[in-house]
Amino acid sequence: MSTVESGATTDRGDAPLERLLQFGRAAVGNPIAGPLGALALAMIFFSFQSEQFLQGPNLSLILQQTVEVGVLAIGQTLIILTAGIDLSCGAVMAFGMIVMTKLAVHSGVPAIPAILLGVLACAAFGLVNGLFVTKVRLPAFIVTLGTFNIAMALVHIYSNEETIANPPSAMTFFGRTFSIGGTDITYAVVLMLALYALFWFVLTQTTWGNHIYAVGNNPEATRLAGIRTDRLLISVYVVAGAIYGLAALLLIARTEVGDPNAGQTDNLDSITAVVLGGTSLFGGRGAVIGTLFGALIVGVFRNGLVLMGVSSVYQILITGILVILAVSVDQLTHRKERG
């Protein structure tokens, strides 16, 4: 009865050569490889089509233009990893923008408390989403569709349809620029990259991050492992809400107004970024850095097509094709899981 599989278990992974080989294998099989490759290809393509494309100022612009959806998509990634989805993110961000600017400009609240209250308001929406998903057990799609409408209505009621101008300078801090090698970059871009680095760390190196992947991959197993899945999911939605609040601040910094019409299509745009980044809509699989590449791919196309003078209809067409490609690649390479 010696039918045991190929020998004893080893973890040879820590020897240097093994590590290199593993890195190579992982790089190709890594979920990020696809989006990074697509981004690189897109950039190469556009650099041939337009000589302004690859210039420092233009690349800096693309980064700045990506911040809004890029930051929202971090929260969306967290939620999609748990096999949920958030349709309310753009509207909640707009709500945060209005709360922050209205408090500061019309009610005379100092900038920092106004910002904190705005972030808190967005986190509160996240709490509502989390509670209804876990305690009432409604699908996230439906819950966040509801909060999307509620947030949108609150935005219009509270702002009275007015764009609020002249926010205090503390709120526009992240719009300020500094120079790297002759190119100007806003602090908002730096914050976005820092947030991606932070959540890369949290998702791959901490227990909370590990549990997020587990609950998205097999919620029942996670529950049986003794993890409080309800609390976990609620915390994910709340953290995502706070991230939307940060996105609101960064958008105020960029546009210098509180705009009640902001972010209306951002829910779909953030989901697009997540999907293009290789994260599975079924949950449990994906890397947050992929989302950054996904958001950049969309930004690169938007920018490149304008520089080329091509009609925007093609941008919409190409985005659609890319999304289907991304989801198909994900499905085909991970068929094992379903059978």
């Binding site: 233009n58 349809e161 546009t255 920018n303 304008v306 520089l307 003078g309 925007s312």
Partner: protein
């Protein structure tokens, strides 16, 4: 489980109370001055949140009160929500309206409109014609082509003797308003061979060095202007689809150190936009009058109810060029007029 039930019951109580509150308050606001059997008029807008439609509704309510008729209102939940509009048409017809004023979300409302007209209800489209235009009895709207022409003519005089480098900041593919204003601007600016019939494609000219879409949104307007400046740093004239896009474009120009050196023109005439003309952000804007569309519409329905005579065809509700710096040969109105007649 208990907590979730409590949560759901709370939501239920809140919703019912909210509905009661809203129902009670709206009933009061639309009540006519007289109590005699009144004529009923319906108003259905695309949404309830866009200030343009808010102004339209106010105009209709004011006229309804003045004439002593009952106004029933409805709106889609979001831009493009035709289903709500269709239901509203049917309900209003059952409620006995003599006429319906509607800004159609899209063409799927046409069958419901036809059914209403077959029952003798007068249907007038406001602001946006349906397709085909003959689906409604009449259209009261801004001539969006003319709106574009006005700012185009303004820019032409301003740029006499200079080399124009034009950026076109458009809406998004689809709605005719985007093509009409764009083409009108170019036509007014002097590009030959453009007529009002060109409502489904963008025309262009060698002076146009960049086009980008904005969805009529401030943040996207900023992005579009930034990218266009990358492409052609020497842009000196910017056409924008509406005033939020213009505001965004201005922020981009300011960040590039070009505020005041580039001329921005726009369409709409909302109060925020007119204030931007005053502030020098926008050089000139074509103002339109949603309030007039609605009040004339109510009047037309009342006429029909009293005399049986239907209004038909297209009624231009007018557009005026608003600017603080008039130019020769292009009629315009000043800021005082603009602010007095703005919407939003």
């Amino acid at each position: 489980m208990r907590f979730s039930r409590w949560l759901v019951s709370l939501m239920g109580v809140l919703t019912v109370s909210l509905a009661l509150l809203v129902g009670l308050s709206s009933a009061r606001s639309d009540a006519p001055a007289q109590n005699t059997a009144t004529i009923k008029v319906g108003l259905i807008t695309k949404t309830d949140t866009n200030p343009f439609f808010v102004k339209m509704k106010q105009g209709a309510q004011k006229q309804a009160r003045a004439l002593g008729v009952t106004l029933l209102t409805a709106a889609g939940k979001i831009d493009g929500d035709a289903a709500t509009q269709i239901t509203a048409i049917e309900n209003m017809v059952s409620a006995g309206v003599k006429g319906i004023l509607i800004t159609p979300s899209n063409d799927s409302v046409v069958p419901a409109i036809r059914k209403a007209r077959a029952k003798g209800v007068l249907v007038i489209a406001l602001d946006t014609p349906p397709n085909p235009a003959s689906a409604v009895d009449a259209l009261f709207a801004t001539n969006n082509f003319t709106a574009g022409v006005l700012i185009g003519k303004y820019a032409k005089v301003l740029f006499k003797g200079k080399t124009p480098k034009i950026a076109m900041l458009d809406l998004f593919p689809g709605p005719s308003v985007g093509y009409l204003r764009h083409n009108g601007f170019l036509s007014g600016f002097g590009v030959a061979g453009i007529t009002q019939k060109d409502s489904t494609k963008y025309k262009t000219s060698p002076d146009v060095v960049c086009s980008a879409d904005t969805s009529g949104d401030q943040a996207k307007g900023q992005t579009a202007m930034e990218t266009c400046l990358q492409k052609s740093p020497d842009i000196n004239l910017v056409y924008t689809i509406n005033e939020p896009a213009a505001a965004g474009a201005y922020t981009a120009l300011k960040n590039a150190g070009k505020a005041g050196k580039v001329t921005v023109v726009s369409v709409d005439g909302g109060c925020a936009g007119v204030r931007n003309v005053k502030a020098g952000v926008i050089a000139a804007t074509s103002q339109q009058y949603p309030l007039k569309m609605a009040s004339r519409g109510v009047q037309a329905v009342v006429n029909y109810a009293k005399t049986g005579k239907k209004v038909s065809g297209y009624t231009d509700t007018g557009v005026n060029l608003i600017t603080a710096k008039p130019v020769a040969g292009v009629p315009s109105k000043g800021l005082a007029f603009g602010l007095a007649n703005c919407w939003g």
